[in-house]
């Protein structure tokens, strides 16, 4: 369990080609109306996100509900076809591959879903669920399957005699372990974890997060960890990307994000994290209003409607992603490389 306590370990081979590279990925859902299914508009769920993920690294993708973080994960996995953009896995472009060409790459990237109930087929036994990917890729046959499934059960902290049980006989945390075992069965390099702990209660969350970190240490996995709980993301991630209305507004390593957030939205998010000390006061930044609709987004910087520091040109001009400090990217007009952060958080 020692590995659990050292999430800060340097990602292996930091200078090699990234495992996953996402360039300007977009997913716009058409809204169809009327008898002839005329396109009445688009939901800009993911609107041009770019990032890289190295082997053995965890990138946390945070943002509030509806900001497009889950859609981003599914689009990278090609469970949803992207509207445009490029996804590269080990330098090979995969977003334009057909179903058959995609098959070998599916092995490399697996998924763990948020809801541990609907993500397991209620009519298959736990052993069949975890063993199915092995059958798909012909990785084992006959009794080897049961052996391999038993090994995976052990890895995620389940007993092999639970293989003949059905999903409804497991608790939420055990079900999520089953989902992780299924994802592990193909020995992938990347796991997209789509809010894997947000449906679990807090004590179980910690167990599952620690399990994910143990497995990362053992198998050198990379995680794209989608979540809205900053405390969980802080614990598991090496770098964090903050999303707002389909775009990444800030991307940096964990330490600088929490110590020195540059985007006003990140500041507000961090100030909302509860401190486990009732005496302690902190300057809360309360955002006014709701998240604008991803169908009719504000012009200029999407955040200007709620930004406490918004200036005139924020309403007109879209800010570009800029590297303000080495490795610290932010999309904000007020945070230019030549003018370091003028309004530090308390």
């Amino acid at each position: 369990m020692a590995a659990v306590l050292s999430p800060e370990r340097a990602p292996a081979a930091a200078d090699s080609a990234p495992l996953l590279e996402v360039v300007d990925l977009k997913k716009h859902f058409a809204i169809r109306k009327g008898l002839l299914s005329r396109v009445a508009g688009y939901v800009y769920a993911v609107d041009g996100i770019s990032f890289t993920l190295r082997a053995g690294e965890t990138l946390g993708l945070v943002g509030e509900s509806g900001c497009g973080k889950s859609t981003a994960g599914k689009t990278i996995l090609k469970l949803i076809e992207p509207t445009s953009g490029v996804v590269r896995l080990r330098g090979r472009r995969i977003n334009n591959l057909g179903r058959r060409d995609m098959r070998p790459f599916r092995r490399e990237m697996q998924v763990v879903f948020q809801d541990p109930y609907s993500s397991l087929n209620p009519r298959m036994t736990a052993g069949d669920i975890v063993g199915e990917p092995l059958i798909n890729y012909n990785l084992a046959r006959g009794s080897e399957i049961a052996d391999r499934v038993a090994y995976l059960f052990g890895k995620v902290g389940l007993r092999p005699d639970q293989m003949i049980k059905y999903p409804h006989e497991f608790s939420g945390g055990q079900r999520q372990r089953l989902g992780i075992a299924r994802a592990l069965s193909l020995n992938p390099s990347l796991i997209v974890a789509d809010e894997p702990v947000s449906a679990l209660d807090v004590s179980v969350q910690a167990q599952v997060v620690n399990l994910l970190m143990d497995l990362q240490a053992e198998f050198g996995l990379s995680y794209l960890f989608v979540a809205h709980d900053l405390a969980v993301v802080e614990h598991i991630s090496h770098r964090i990307a903050v999303m707002y209305l389909g775009r990444i507004v800030e991307l940096t390593d964990k330490q600088s994000l929490f110590a020195r957030p540059l985007h006003p939205y990140t500041e507000a998010l961090l100030s909302a994290v509860p401190i486990p000390d009732p005496q302690m006061q902190r300057k809360r930044i309360i955002l006014m209003g709701d998240v604008p609709s991803p169908i009719n987004r504000p012009a200029g910087c999407h955040f200007h409607t709620r930004c406490p520091y918004a200036e005139a040109h924020c309403r007109v001009e879209e800010p570009a992603m800029q590297e303000v400090h080495p490795g610290h990217f932010v999309a904000c007009h007020l945070r230019q490389p030549e003018t370091p952060a003028s309004k530090p958080v308390s």
Binding site: D115, P122, P133
Partner: protein, 293 residues
């Protein structure tokens, strides 16, 4: 889909038998349904050996006799033995009910899967189904019978056509919601082929609604057949079915109630049995319910 691989993870043959026996113990109403239905099927098959006489033999001199030792269920206005007619009538009612249930669920399942997966087929097939559903099923069956000659096969086809739209609509909606389930997405992400997703993830989860719908259709098809016979649009009048025995006895109900009573009891018992079996099987086949209690 019993692959060699999945067998190793499943209970062995003996365990299966235990599971089935356990399910029966836990579902006594299902056993009752099976017993009644089995008895009806046995009656239908063994009709000539159950002390029956020719159900079509007319004997005007012995018409409208009360139930007696000689005529157990009495005789009708043409002096035909109601007992023999009821026993032979089981053949028609069961054949129609079971085959309509089987064919309409199979056809509806195929249409439902196609419309749930192919958008173009969805628009075309569902508009046709909407059109069929706008006509009351009895009227549709009557109209179809009017186009053809009266025979048991045509009755089965007519009632099947009238029932298919409902099954299609049901299965389509189930498939559409299953397709979006995370467990199906996880299966796609782990490289599961389309055929296997259909066979392992979609089809097993359509079984419960299909069974419920199928038993309902079986029961309602027997009643529809009775109605068709009743108004003279069903099986030819010389072939006895529970429906046309009752239809012929209707006008004499006040003086010879037993003409309607006995086929009526048989029909209600059979419909009840089918519903009991259907409900029991839905619960027994659902892993969430099977091991409870």
């Amino acid at each position: 889909m019993a692959t060699a691989a999945s067998d190793t993870l499943k209970p062995t043959g003996a365990a299966w038998r235990d599971m089935i026996a356990g399910a029966l113990r836990r579902h006594p109403t299902m056993i009752a349904g099976f017993v009644i239905l089995g008895a009806m099927i046995a009656i239908a098959i063994l009709a000539p050996y159950l002390w029956t006489i020719d159900p079509q033999a007319v004997s005007p001199i012995r018409r409208l006799r009360q139930p007696s030792e000689l005529y157990w269920f009495g005789t009708d206005m043409l002096g035909r033995d109601i007992y023999s007619r009821t026993i032979y009538g089981a053949r028609i009612s069961l054949a129609v009910g079971l085959s309509v249930a089987l064919f309409s669920t199979l056809v509806g399942l195929v249409f439902g899967l196609v419309t749930g997966y192919v958008r173009l087929a969805d628009t075309i097939i569902m508009r046709v189904m909407d059109g069929l559903m706008s006509i009351p099923p009895i009227l549709l069956a009557i109209a179809l019978m009017a186009l053809t000659k009266a025979s048991v096969e045509n009755v089965i086809v007519a009632i099947t056509i009238a029932e298919v739209p409902r099954v299609t609509r049901l299965i389509r909606s189930v498939v559409l919601s299953l397709r979006e389930q995370p467990f199906v997405e996880a299966a796609i992400a782990s490289g599961t082929g389309f055929v296997r997703i259909l066979a392992r993830h979609i089809l097993p989860n359509t079984v419960a609604p299909l069974l419920v719908q199928g038993t309902y259709i079986c029961a309602s098809a027997m009643i529809t057949e009775a109605i068709l016979s009743f108004i003279g649009a069903g099986t030819p009048p010389n072939i006895p079915s529970w429906g046309n025995i009752m239809a012929e006895g209707r006008s004499l109900f006040q003086i010879a109630f037993y003409i309607i009573l006995f086929p009526g009891i048989f029909l209600s018992l059979t419909v009840l049995a089918v519903n009991l079996v259907g409900d029991g099987m839905r619960d027994a086949l659902d892993p969430r319910l099977a091991r409870r209690m």
